[in-house]
């Protein structure tokens, strides 16, 4: 197991390097001029001042050199650089807004798993019944409804019908934990319903497949009660691929969080990066995407390690 973990951690390096380099390249080909944004048109049009600012920011050097510089400072000094627009350290922004997005992500994932896994198992075990039909209709509607539509509906009808219950706006968890959780519940629900529907469909087909395997047939032939067949024999191997899938869906979750932060006016990383893209604030975009991709890569890693812990075939492969 130890060797497996080390191998997986090493594999993380090229992934993170690749993500950061892609981001680096992409944001530098976005047109729009940082000097104009910082100093206004008059100064930006003066070639000497312009050159001075560009060299001050390090933007006159070759692209690869800029990249190595940026990465080196992060890993050697923990320095993510400074925002081009307001001058504050990028790491401060990430540290203050990161927990907000993480809270939204974790709560959404918890809701999604709480809905998707049990309903998926039930739907597979009770295949062909009314319950199965209902669960599948719910799943189809869930994957067809954009989270920003669910979110908007919650905002609209929450305000009209239940103004007392649906208090929106963000409160930090550390200040008022209960208040924070209950306010974040709504955006988390909007996001979690959609992902829960995906997990439901996936769990259902995974359980259905395992229920058709020979060893399940054997268990039934031994005369085991159906509950024992499902919970002791089938579920363990059926849920292993579900864990991996949930890990992979965390990237999707981050995308959803970015939009929902906009809908619910939550001051998280999503809104930070949206405004940074608009302002061509490179250090903020780079730092945030690096942070978010690291989180996603780590979640995928944790899911894989969980799978390896349960399934010896994986770590011995």
């Amino acid at each position: 197991m130890g060797r497996y973990i080390v191998r997986r951690l090493l594999l993380l390096i090229p992934v993170v390097l690749g993500v950061t380099f892609l981001t680096f390249l992409l944001i530098r080909i976005i047109p729009g001029d940082i000097v104009t944004r910082m100093m206004g048109v008059t100064i930006a049009n003066n070639p000497e001042t312009r050159a001075l600012i560009l060299s001050e920011l390090g933007l006159d050097r070759p692209l690869l050199e800029q990249y190595v510089w940026w990465l080196g400072r992060i890993f050697l000094q923990g320095d993510f650089g400074y925002s081009f627009i307001h001058g504050g350290p990028v790491i401060d922004q990430i540290l203050s807004r990161g927990p907000v997005t993480l809270q939204l992500g974790l709560m959404s994932m918890a809701i999604a798993i709480a809905i998707g896994v049990p309903l998926g198992v039930l739907s597979a075990v009770k295949r062909g019944t009314a319950l199965d039909l209902l669960a599948r209709i719910f799943a189809l509607l869930g994957i067809s409804t954009p989270s920003f539509f669910t979110g908007t509906l919650i905002v609209v009808f929450g305000a009209i019908w239940f103004p007392k219950v649906t208090t929106l706006g963000y409160v930090p968890f550390t200040e008022a934990p209960w208040e924070s959780l209950s306010r974040m519940l709504w955006p988390a629900l909007a996001l979690g319903l959609g992902i829960g529907a995906i997990i439901l469909r996936y769990t259902r087909s995974s359980v259905l497949e395992v229920l058709g395997e020979d060893y399940v047939l054997t268990a039934r032939a031994k005369g085991l009660p159906e509950a024992a067949v499902v919970f002791v024999h089938a579920l363990k191997s059926a849920l292993i691929p579900v864990i991996t899938a949930i890990g992979l869906w965390s990237a999707f979750l981050v995308s959803g969080a970015v939009i929902l932060e906009e809908v619910f006016a939550i001051p998280g990383l999503g809104r930070l990066v949206l405004s940074a893209i608009e302002n061509r604030d490179y250090p903020i975009i780079q730092g945030t995407v690096l942070f978010l991709s690291l989180v996603v890569a780590l979640v995928i890693l944790v899911a894989d390690l969980l799978v390896a812990a349960v399934d010896p075939r994986v770590r011995l492969h």
């Binding site: 992934v15 509906l153 995906i198 992979l248 990237a251 970015v258």
Partner: protein, 307 residues
């Protein structure tokens, strides 16, 4: 390790389709006519009806719409009723007409972007799978990277670079989906290329290009077709999301996503402004999903028995 990771098919709830294509014979896995399958399965029928209706509405939109998209219909924020079935927005524009005309924009982003993704992703995936070895491992590594990326941020950055226009929206969504199509084409290619009929063709002196076109392509079309119909639903969602954020179709052009986003500004004055554009997105995506599920079941008889 890698083998245990679920394929994209699996992630989309399509385990069976990938298995069918992997183990499929020389013929595409579908048996019987699709029409018969549709007749037996009401869900697929519903999907087909929704998608067909949607396409017809988009084609005949100018004749169905009662007002022009940006015409003042004579009442601001009117409630839905006889005169204005979906009500009017804060600019007095008829929402029914905007939703009908908006279908053109949605479909004319979704179809070309998926077509473009397939046109590039399919040959790339086939080649990667066919060559195998190092090329294949390098591709998988790249795919790992793309999977860890928050795609919406990439789409936003790309649209910001290219500028918000219909063509650029198509290009952006296509770029996002190329690796997905390639991944779906790669899997079955890997397994089909080792089968006897491919070896036989090679022993008769068939070149690589001929083998790819004549023997491998027909065998991987089923999963690619299923993936395409699901990508269509996703493309609709992505276009709506980008337009919702103000980065896609630009107002005053009618677009479901943009109208939903705009409607939020005055939503306390009439929820119909967000409900109807949102419902249209839902129904359209629902239709393509049903159709995709139906196609998958058609190509994989095993799943059909399970139901």
């Amino acid at each position: 390790m890698r083998m245990r990771r679920p394929s994209l098919f699996a992630l989309l709830g399509l385990r069976a389709a990938s298995r069918a294509s992997g183990g499929g014979g020389a013929r595409p896995a579908g048996s019987g006519r699709f029409v018969d399958h549709v007749r037996r399965d009401p869900a697929t029928m519903l999907g087909l009806v929704i998608v067909t209706t949607l396409i017809l509405v988009a084609i005949f939109a100018p004749w169905i719409a009662t007002y022009e998209a940006n015409q003042n219909a004579g009442a601001i924020l009117a409630r839905p009723g006889w005169e204005y079935p979906f009500g009017t927005n804060f600019q007095g524009r008829d929402l029914f007409s905007r939703v009908v005309l908006g279908s053109r924009n949605s479909l004319s982003v979704a179809f070309p972007s998926v077509a473009l993704a397939v046109a590039i992703g399919l040959p790339v995936g086939m080649l990667v799978g066919f060559i195998g070895g190092r090329v294949d491992s390098a591709f998988l590594r790249l795919f790992d990277i793309l999977f860890a990326l928050p795609t919406i941020l990439f789409a936003i950055a790309l649209v910001a670079y290219l500028g918000p226009s219909l063509e650029n929206l198509i290009l952006t969504i296509a770029i996002l989906y190329i690796p997905r199509v390639a991944m779906v084409a790669r899997g079955p290619t890997l397994s089909v290329k080792t089968r006897e009929f491919v070896l036989a063709a090679r022993s008769f002196g068939a070149g690589s290009l001929r083998i790819l076109r004549q023997h491998i392509l027909p065998n991987i079309m089923a999963p690619v077709l299923v993936e395409s119909s699901l990508l269509l639903s996703e493309a609709l969602l992505t276009e709506a999301a980008l337009s919702f954020l103000g980065l896609g179709v630009q107002p005053p052009e009618p677009s479901w996503g943009a109208d939903l986003g705009k409607g939020r500004q005055f939503m306390e004055l009439g929820a119909h402004q967000v409900i109807f554009p949102g419902l249209m997105i839902m129904v359209a995506v629902f239709g393509f999903n049903l159709l995709g599920d139906g196609l998958r079941d058609y190509f994989d008889p095993r799943i059909r028995r399970q139901r």
